[in-house]
């Protein structure tokens, strides 16, 4: 595939190329909705079956840290949107600044997640390892709580994996933007990584109430 400037040879115009890339990204995100959807369905059905144990297990999660992480991730979405804006508005100097801010916030999120995971490790709430929900809880309660935590780790783990990929993409963008590659005319990569980043934010926006909030009042 030969390339002229930013235009790959199989496209006729830059516009066609950008159009294709954006469409491809959106389609990929549609795929991702269904990918997480399988987990959401598994969670919903099991929660309906074991509302009591799921509520109890949910309450062992740290609400403060969960809320903090929600705020951090939303803030990172803002800085990401600003990075896209800088590129579109042609403010080349600002792009790396906002990218670095996004990176920092993304890393903070993953750090907080690591702290939460560690707490679960200490409490023996990691499925697959020796698991004890509460001292003296029966085998059945244990099993159902383990189911909750399997889903908790499955959903947040998959989400965290997406965050890690996102951090990698941001690092690549940062490198490219420092080289001055992105301009008001050509900024599709930033825009598309932005779409991805916001999508990951949206997944968390749903994980937060489902895992941390529902039935907390009980």
């Amino acid at each position: 595939m030969h390339r002229t400037g930013e235009l790959y040879g199989h496209f006729q115009t830059l516009e066609q190329q950008k159009d294709s890339a954006t469409l491809g990204m959106w389609i990929f995100l549609a795929t991702e909705i269904l990918f997480f959807g399988g987990l959401f369905l598994t969670y919903s059905i099991n929660r309906q079956t074991y509302p009591g144990v799921f509520a109890d297990a949910s309450k062992t999660l740290d609400l403060t840290l969960g809320t903090l992480n929600t705020a951090v991730l939303i803030a990172s979405s803002l800085t990401m949107a600003m990075a896209v804006w800088s590129a579109e508005a042609g403010k080349k100097k600002l792009i790396p600044v906002y990218l670095i801010l996004t990176l920092i916030l993304g890393t903070v999120f993953l750090g907080v997640k690591a702290v939460e995971y560690h707490a679960k490790y200490v409490e023996h709430h990691i499925p697959g390892l020796p698991f004890q929900f509460e001292p003296g809880s029966t085998a059945a309660t244990n099993a159902h709580a383990e189911l909750f935590f399997s889903l908790y780790f499955g959903m947040t783990g998959l989400h965290a994996l997406h965050m890690v990929v996102g951090v990698g993409l941001l690092l690549w963008l940062l490198r490219q933007s420092l080289k001055g590659r992105f301009t008001a005319e050509y900024n599709t990569p930033i825009e598309n990584v932005g779409l991805y980043w916001h999508f990951v934010d949206i997944v968390w926006i749903y994980l937060y109430p489902l895992l941390y909030l529902i039935d907390r009042h009980k």
Binding site: W26, G38, T67, S77, M82, L195, Y208, I214, H217
Partner: protein
């Protein structure tokens, strides 16, 4: 080839959206500690999910520029959500209607 109308959203709008998202986050965190199920069974769940959907919509529409984008993009978003709804709704309706 649909013409891509480049619409640059101003940072002011981003800040407004960000502030709304933060307020909604605080609201949902607070609402979770109040027993709303007393008014109507399952109200806590509904409130939490409605707020989450509002937040998600704000992110999609403004941070992701869906509000300014082509019909084609909107169609893809709707399809993604609709297919998720098919899966959730039809499966749950099986569980809900078992005798």
């Amino acid at each position: 080839m649909s013409e891509h109308s480049e619409h640059i959203v101003s940072p002011k709008i981003y800040l407004i959206i960000f502030a709304s998202l933060m307020i909604l986050t605080a609201t949902t965190a607070y609402a979770a500690t109040v027993d709303l199920d007393g008014y109507f069974k399952g109200l806590n769940v509904i409130v939490a999910l409605v707020i989450a959907t509002c937040k998600a919509s704000l992110v999609v529409l403004f941070f992701m520029h869906a509000y300014y984008s082509t019909k084609r993009t909107k169609l893809i978003i709707i399809c993604g959500v609709f297919w998720l709804a098919i899966m959730l709704f039809l499966t749950m309706s099986d569980y809900a209607t078992r005798s």
